[in-house]
């Protein structure tokens, strides 16, 4: 069943904020440059100062308006290297312009020197002031970037919360619908069942093979419909839990016992690696058994008539906790179920938990098993993940339960 038809993609409803991540625009690249960029910018500034110097010389000295072009490299240096860059460029510019200061014979050398000093100080003021503005702007840019990052993070969190809300609302409405449908379907199903039972009795001694076979097929159809209805009821009722502190390994053993017949029938070998001394986990025994049976049966059906079902339990450390010397607060008890079956097509992986999604042939799966399982797992504040095994055939299901506080 394609349940994606006519459904708007969730992504469509989100506000699109461009992710910056580590991307840097040209302003970033030339702001406080390092290495080759710093050398390049310094050379450019020096070239500009020399260029303006030559222009001033060619046009008759500092009395001309071309002199004001010297502010460009000074401001550029201040923008690139801050206040020190601006001051350094101002000093260089003043030095370069020195020989071109117009000599006033009447007022003498001291007046010329004083003019030169005055211009240089003016350059220094522009350099320093531009540097200060540049520093202020850089700080503002950094602050804006930080705010942008926070906004992006908040947006991601909102998006994730929205997705969860949509999913929860979807599941709730499907749950209500499922319960209603299940009830309404069970009544006519009960009539058909009794009708089939009646006909089974009345045709048993007639020797009419066609009728007997037809009735048998009807009985089988009723049984299949009942399985679907049962799935719907499971789906609508998965929200009630009776929690107890239990040993996960024993619940796994009990569940394996219930699928033992299927394993034997399908010539599937079982590999168990259950860790000893696992901490107890809060769980609803029957509901978790339901999840395990579902996962085991999926694996068995994916393997067909041969294969190996592997079940492991272990304690997982939160990544980096050992190195950081943290308390075992993030530790989880994990069950890893692996099969050697066909695996799951990559494009189907993200649909596995959708209600009514199934990869099994029509009539053999309700498409509710994993959906119900995930509901149950999430009610336990645990997580379930399904992926294809790396490098080998088959799928892997991992279920991680939080360990209650041992203090």
């Amino acid at each position: 069943m394609d349940n994606g038809v006519n459904r708007p993609k969730n992504e469509d409803v989100h506000l699109q904020i461009p992710a910056t991540g580590e991307e840097r625009n040209w302003v970033d690249r030339w702001r406080e440059p390092r290495g080759s960029r710093a050398v390049l910018l310094s050379l450019l500034i020096l070239a500009l100062i020399a260029g303006v110097g030559m222009l001033v010389r060619a046009t008759g000295g500092t009395g001309f308006a071309w002199l004001h072009l010297m502010y460009l490299p000074i401001i550029l240096a201040a923008a690139g290297f801050g206040i020190y860059g601006g001051v350094a460029a101002a000093l260089v510019a003043g030095f370069v312009l020195g020989p071109y200061m117009p000599m006033d014979a009447a007022k003498g050398l001291s007046q010329t020197m004083s003019n030169w000093m005055f211009r240089t100080v003016f350059f220094l003021l522009v350099g320093a002031f531009s540097g200060l503005i540049s520093k202020y702007l850089n700080e503002q840019i950094d602050r804006l970037k930080e705010t942008h990052q926070h906004l992006l993070q908040a947006h991601e969190e909102l998006k994730s919360a929205q997705m969860q809300l949509i999913q929860t609302a979807k599941l709730e409405s499907i749950g209500r619908l499922a319960a209603g449908v299940a009830h309404e379907v069970k009544n006519p199903l009960a009539v058909i069942q009794l009708g089939v039972d009646y006909l089974t009795r009345t045709t048993k001694d007639t020797g009419d093979r066609d009728s007997i076979e037809t009735i048998q097929e009807m009985a089988d159809a009723v049984r299949r419909a009942d399985v679907v209805v049962k799935g719907l009821l499971d789906f609508s009722r998965s929200e009630q839990l009776g929690l107890a502190s239990l040993d996960l390994n024993s619940v796994i053993e009990e569940s394996l016992l219930l699928v033992r017949h299927e394993l034997t029938r399908n010539h599937i070998s079982l590999e168990k690696h259950l860790a000893g001394q696992l901490p107890q986990v809060m769980m609803d025994r029957n509901k978790i058994k339901q999840v395990f049976i579902n996962v085991f049966m999926n694996a068995i059906q994916a393997m067909g008539n041969n294969g190996t079902l592997s079940v492991k339990t272990f304690i997982s450390q939160p990544s980096g906790s050992e190195a950081a010397g943290q308390s075992p607060a993030g530790e989880k008890v994990v069950v890893l179920v692996e099969d050697t079956g066909t695996g799951i097509p990559e494009d189907k992986l993200d649909k596995l938990f959708d209600p009514f999604f199934t990869t099994k042939p029509v009539g053999t799966g309700t498409g509710l098993g994993l959906s119900v399982s995930r509901n149950i797992i999430e009610l336990h504040r645990a997580t379930i993940k399904i992926a294809n095994r790396k490098g080998v055939r088959g799928a892997a299901v991992s279920i991680a339960f939080p360990i209650p506080n041992r203090g």
């Binding site: 069970k186 009960a190 069942q193 009794l194 009646y198």
Partner: protein
Amino acid sequence: MTKKKILVVDDEVGMTRMLKRNLEATGRYDVRTENEGAAAITAAREFQPDLVLLDVMMPEISGDEVAARIKEDKKLSNIPIVFLSAIVKKEETQPTGGNIGGFTFLAKPVKLDDLITCIENHLGK
């Protein structure tokens, strides 16, 4: 051997008809059917059944209310009541009837053999 009297109450006519046909075909039961709660209480007083098979979700008077009224009536209070319901799953009951809150429940769709076993268990008591 006298036939045991069974009152079958379900708002779905097809269901009561099918139950009557199946149970009477065994030759062991005399079955009366009703399709709504009020008529079922009256029928119980007139028919004096040995057992009542009762649907839970019915319009107007629900199955549990019918059961309560039967239990209130001194002449009827000893009659065993078996609920036949679509609101329970087989796993929540025994295949041949599970006890929920003091009453026996059978989950729909029920197999005739399970139903008869359940009825016989009650009538044999």
